[in-house]
Amino acid sequence: MTRVPIARKVLNENDRLAAELRRGFETHGTLCVNLISSPGSGKTMLLERTLASFDPSRRVAVLTGDIQTDNDAQRLARYGFPVRQITTGGACHLDARMVAQALGDWQPDAFDLLLIENVGNLVCPSSYDLGEEARVVLFSVTEGEDKPLKYPATFHRADLVVLNKIDLLPYVPFRIDLAREYLRRVQPEIEIVEVSCTTGAGLDTWREWLDRRARTAERHLSQTAELRSPPA
């Protein structure tokens, strides 16, 4: 028996597809955001509030993942932006192939912002790169404040944590100071935005974060363009 060393990732194929998607997004200056949370934390509601606040001319598209039903796509389509449902038919997470298939005939340069709502799950989505530029993890005050400690793999990779339903703080035994402490324990430099999708509190800060990241994606694009065609 011979031992052959094999140095490659287990999810090599997913990572290869994700890298292809990422190159496409970068080439066109599209900010791609992967939104992850447990079921019921308010991903769809956050997207609804976000889309409702956008100028209709904004070049934004949404992919929304669920195991079954296109309920979320129907909810999100009301805001006039292109929305596609990914029905995984049982899979507990989105993968890069599902995203590539769902993008289908959409032209890669048609959008400045692509929002992907992952399947509600705090574990499995963390292993699958979708080619996103930013990973946003949502969690809400109706869950335990120790979620970050229970699901460190997911919170450790978050570029931003949105803490939702803060309007319910007076009614639930959730200690927000502990939640912040646990988040920082998993990732000391973590960025946290506290919002209520019901009252609208904090949503401006979330949109500013999104706009800032979108501008950075565009800036990369113009810099790349300059590199390609240096001034004569």
């Binding site: 028996m1 011979t2 031992r3 052959v4 060393p5 094999i6 140095a7 490659r8 990732k9 287990v10 999810l11 090599n12 194929e13 997913n14 899979a91 507990c92 997470h93 993968d95 574990v123 499995c124 963390s126 292993s127 699958y128 400690l149 699901y151 460190p152 793999a153 997911t154 450790h156 324990r185 998993v186 000391p188």
Partner: protein, 113 residues
């Protein structure tokens, strides 16, 4: 429960490797980091269930657990992160970066010649 999809990806790789060497693969070694979000025992369960009754059997899975490690930006030393303590135990700096623990990688395969 994404361990089933991960086990399926692993079996595809074993098949490819088996075809490439034109030999039976006896064992596959993988590294799973503490922060990979993969449960070793459920992966083993899925893997064994999927291998059974296929041409790949017998095939054993050897899992190496890789602990979470950070590296200090100030003193450049590496240390294990225990109980989420990411501050550097050597110089006390809180500015440290991930140095290991996200692995979900193949390490080796054992092949009959």
């Amino acid at each position: 429960m994404h361990e089933m999809s991960i086990a399926a990806s692993m079996l595809e790789a074993v098949e490819a490797e088996s075809a490439r060497h034109q030999a039976h693969v006896r064992a596959v070694g993988v590294k799973i980091g503490e922060l990979a979000g993969v449960d070793a025992e459920s992966l083993r369960f899925c893997f064994e269930t999927m291998v059974r009754d296929t041409e790949l059997a017998p095939l054993s899975l050897e899992i190496e657990a890789i602990p979470w490690r950070n590296r200090c930006r100030r003193c450049a030393r590496d240390f294990p992160v225990l109980d989420y303590r990411t501050a550097c135990p050597h110089c006390g700096s809180t500015e440290t970066d991930l140095a290991g623990g996200r692995e979900l990688e193949f390490a080796y395969m054992e092949i009959d010649e």
